[in-house]
Amino acid sequence: MKSAVIVFPASNCDRDAKVALEQMTGKTPAMVWHQDSELPEVDLVVLPGGFSYGDYLRCGAMASQSAVMKSVKAHADKGGMVLGICNGFQVLTESHLLPGALMRNAALKFVCRPVGLEIEETQSAFTRKYENGQRVTFPVAHGEGSYFADEETLNRLEGENRVAFRYAKGENPNGSARNIAGILSEKRNVLGLMPHPERVVDEVLGGTDGRNLFHSLIETLS
């Protein structure tokens, strides 16, 4: 599986994504600068966490306009895999690769803590190695992660089994609608999620629940 990590100015989980991909796939991902308008030939594009362009505007709004995003969209249109984590999820909604928006956390504060998640949908390239309904723990670290979409969109997401991750009961850290933590695109090749799977692939860091996300991708793509 070949992968690329997009680096926007003030991306700050780009190295974490790179290290996790190296550990899980044994291959070093290409690090692609936001001004590069061409992507290398890859199976998976990762939009990492961070504060792209400082996120002084709506989170991800500036990044969605950057040169590289045209190529990311083209990659997704061709059915290529795209994974957006945290700020990456925000970039995906701002780019309309995923529906809805990420709003300010309900408590109006940044929140960093491990949260319990339920795997809602295993019929995807990103989650096939998990069990349906399996409970996992990933950390979150964001100020604007409250998922919002209109009722019709939410119904559609659920109806099409596109909610991949949900915050477990009592664990919703940000007021997300219907406890949604991560969603798939219509063609199921784009996943955006607020929690950080790349921070839970290493035993020493207190958990390995994120590994199966990478195992799922490896199994799908190789």
Partner: protein, 734 residues
């Protein structure tokens, strides 16, 4: 030319004697720009004029110290060609006036101090002191400072891994915000600030210069009064996005060999960075301010030299490397300008619009800056054991203490900090020390910040010792070998002899402990004049300690992990209640002697505990500090809800045994098979040791009689902070 009047001199915070010295050094009346430059360079904040004579007494050397005090940050050898670079610095005055921006720029400033030396910042810590919880300003200040620290650090993508928060009325009008940054570099890639050689280009990189923060260093060197909030416009505004770009661009430039010297523009901005670089390099510096990237129109030379706009760096490059450097900064969309040249004149020359605005000997700003041996009046340390009511129920008191402002969980604070970004945080906040892995290795750094201000007023010397000893103990408790400290000395007005004594005794105490524990001081910062309307803060010499762990998988944490472990107390309990949390929270008094630290015992006990951890024999350790033994045991029980049945050992009286704050103590929990051996080995080594009982159940049981549910303790412990911050009535817990 502007005529310098006596009023101008006073407004610049200079005394008549200091101005007379300036006239002598210059051989003429200074220009207005020169007066401004003297004002900031001779300010307490930049010159350390009241403390320098005493700071010299601190131990600063050890075989593992690569760079001691005097550079932007200290550097230690952590093996394999790696170096840890760290420093702590205060941003007290700005944070009181404008908490969000004050705290944010404090974080930004200390990060620049570390990455200007070639290190990638890997962890942030902070030591915060606020006024009483029911003071009308406290909530606002806590909320602003915490979100400011988070706002900056989170965007930078550097984990904020811990720190401390205290509340005390002495900080009502003068909070303390001390931020510490730890970075990693290769030993052969460390950058210093000495601008050696003449004819080398001086380049300016980062943000544009604006009118913000003019005279910040002077403000930080004066007492506050009720009008201080009018100084809000002098607080700088932080831009972590630009700083993140600056970090990456600097590290990219540092990977080349184009740099001769580099220094961040912190307090006193362009003035101090150019003067210090010239001074250390033994060269002169000539700047053309027309070339300085400016954010506002019509800025004067005075404004540009004194601006404290953030996210800026000054570097001296090898000649001919300008284009290479410029390409890197352009890639990161940052300003880059050659604004001057080094000379062999030893003078700082400032030109603007074709006019020489300043031309002064650099040594006048450094070596010739005043040093004061300020008079001090010794005060006898408070002595005596305070009385207490022997009939107060122990477990009800425990519950009250755990839900008190200084002891309750700080989760509300640290969950607002991204503490796991960079994917190397092995021990998150809430334990004895944070542990951050050295990327790509099995090694890790342990980091802590400590001081117990309530000990430092009654006994500044013992308080200084205790701050160092507690930092050393916290690093030891996770299994790290303590290597070095940075100190952040927060005191009141040094021109008052009783305050000056607190400073001198505090430094002596720190020195004594650092020497005894092989724990040298490699850098730091002094923040004086922490007073409002004549009321000084508690002396608060915050110590930031760093230790090294060779194998991170051996790390110990505070949480009880298994039922049936034997709970062992290492160290002697005499039941010292003077200045304790118990006395303050339960008896409502701040009295008696501060606890004394026996440094030889401290070292012996700590070395014993560390060896157990390193050998993989013990994974559950907690130091005994604020609140005493029973609080320590409760803190070990709460994380996983595993209780313990324990009893008095060695003292007949329950209250001093459970709540006394004797030093040099640890609680460990070890499997039965290990426990007997550990006790025997401790006894053989002459270490006071006692078995307190066993872990298990979901309660803490004392002497097989009284018990309390851990869930009930946890309720008060976890809820105090969120309830307080949401403005809800604080429930009485006993």
């Amino acid at each position: 030319m502007t005529q310098i009047t006596a009023a101008m001199v006073r407004e610049h915070g200079l005394s008549d004697a200091e101005y007379a010295r300036i006239l002598e050094l210059m051989g003429r009346e200074p220009t207005f720009v020169e007066l401004g430059i003297f004002s900031v360079m001779w300010s307490e904040h930049c010159s350390y004029k009241s403390t320098r004579a005493h700071l010299k007494k601190l131990p600063t050397k050890a075989p593992w110290v690569i760079q001691g005090p005097g550079e932007n940050a200290g550097v230690i050898d952590i093996g394999d060609g790696d170096a840890a670079i760290f420093k702590m610095e205060s941003h007290n005055h700005p944070s009181f006036i404008e908490p969000y921006q004050g705290a944010a720029t404090g974080v930004g400033g200390i990060m620049r101090d570390v990455f200007t030396m070639g290190a990638r910042p890997i962890a942030m810590m902070n030591a915060l002191r606020f006024g009483e919880p029911d003071h009308p300003k406290t909530r606002h200040l806590v909320s602003g400072v915490v979100s400011g620290i988070g706002g900056y650090g989170n965007c930078m993508g550097v984990p904020t891994v811990g720190g401390e928060v205290n509340f005390h009325k002495s900080y009502n009008g003068n909070i303390l915000v001390n931020a510490m940054c730890v970075g990693l570099a290769r030993q052969d890639k460390i950058f210093l600030s000495a601008a050696k050689g003449a004819g080398n280009p001086v380049v300016y990189v980062g943000s544009k210069t604006g009118r913000d923060g003019i005279h910040g260093a002077t403000m930080a060197s004066a007492e506050f009064d009720d009008a201080s909030e009018e100084k809000r416009p002098t607080v700088q505004v932080g831009d972590p996005f630009t700083e993140k770009l600056l970090l990456e661009a600097c590290l990219e430039l540092m990977a080349t060999d184009a740099i001769i010297a580099i220094q961040d523009m912190g307090a006193a901005g362009l003035t101090s960075s150019s003067a210090e670089m010239g001074d250390k390099g033994g060269s002169g510096i000539e700047l053309d301010l027309d070339k300085v990237p400016q954010r506002e129109a019509n800025m004067t030379a005075y404004e540009m030299m004194l601006s404290e706009s953030q996210e800026r760096m000054l570097a001296v490059l090898k000649p001919g490397r300008e284009a290479q450097a410029e390409a890197i900064f352009k890639k990161w969309e940052l300003d880059f300008a050659v604004i001057g040249i080094t000379t062999n004149t030893n003078r700082l020359v400032i030109k603007h619009k074709g006019k020489v605005e300043a031309d002064m000997p650099i040594t006048a700003l450094s070596d010739a800056a005043p040093i004061y041996e300020r008079p001090y009046t010794e005060r006898k340390p408070l002595a005596g054991e305070p009385a207490y009511d022997k009939n107060k129920p122990v477990l009800a008191s425990l519950k009250t203490i755990l839900a008190s402002p200084d002891m309750a969980s700080r989760r509300w604070v640290w969950e607002q900090y991204d503490h796991t970004v960079m994917a190397d945080t092995v021990q998150v906040p809430g334990g004895d020390a944070a542990v951050v892995r050295v990327h790509g290795s099995k090694k890790a750094l342990a980091i802590t910040t400590d001081v117990t201000p309530r000990y430092c007023r009654p006994d500044p010397f013992e308080g200084g010792k205790q701050a160092v000893a507690e930092a050393w103990r916290n690093l030891t408790a996770v299994g790290a070998l303590p290597l070095a400290v940075t100190d952040n000395l927060n005191y009141g007005n040094p021109q008052k002899p009783e305050i000056m004594w607190e400073i001198v005794a505090g430094i002596d105490g720190i020195g004594a402990a650092c020497r005894a524990l092989d724990f040298p001081v490699i850098g730091g910062n002094c923040s004086l004049y922490n007073e409002t309307n004549g009321e000084g803060i508690l002396p608060t010499p915050a110590i930031g300690g760093v230790g090294l762990m060779q194998d991170v998988t051996k790390m110990a944490t505070v949480a009880f992990k298994r039922a049936g472990d034997v709970v062992i107390l290492i160290g002697e309990t005499k039941g010292h209640l003077g200045q304790s949390i118990y006395l303050r929270e339960i008896e409502g008094r701040e009295e008696g002697a501060a606890p004394k630290v026996d440094l030889a015992v401290e070292k012996k006990n700590g070395d014993f505990v560390r060896k157990l951890i390193e050998a993989g024999r013990v994974d559950t350790v907690h130091d005994v500090s604020d609140g005493g033994l029973l609080v320590a045991v409760a803190e070990m029980a709460m994380p996983r809800g595993i209780g313990a049945s324990i009893g008095l050992a060695g003292l007949p009286e329950a209250i001093p045994f459970w709540f006394g704050e004797d030093q040099a103590r640890y609680v460990i929990a070890a499997p039965l098979a290990q426990a007997d051996k550990i006790v025997a080995e401790a006894q053989a080594a002459g270490i006071t040791v006692a078995e307190l009982g066993k872990t298990g159940g979901d309660t803490i049981i004392l002497d097989d009689k009284d018990s309390v549910k851990i869930a009930a303790l946890k309720d008060g412990f976890e809820n105090w902070f969120p309830n307080y911050m949401s403005g809800e009535e604080i429930p009485v817990t006993n």
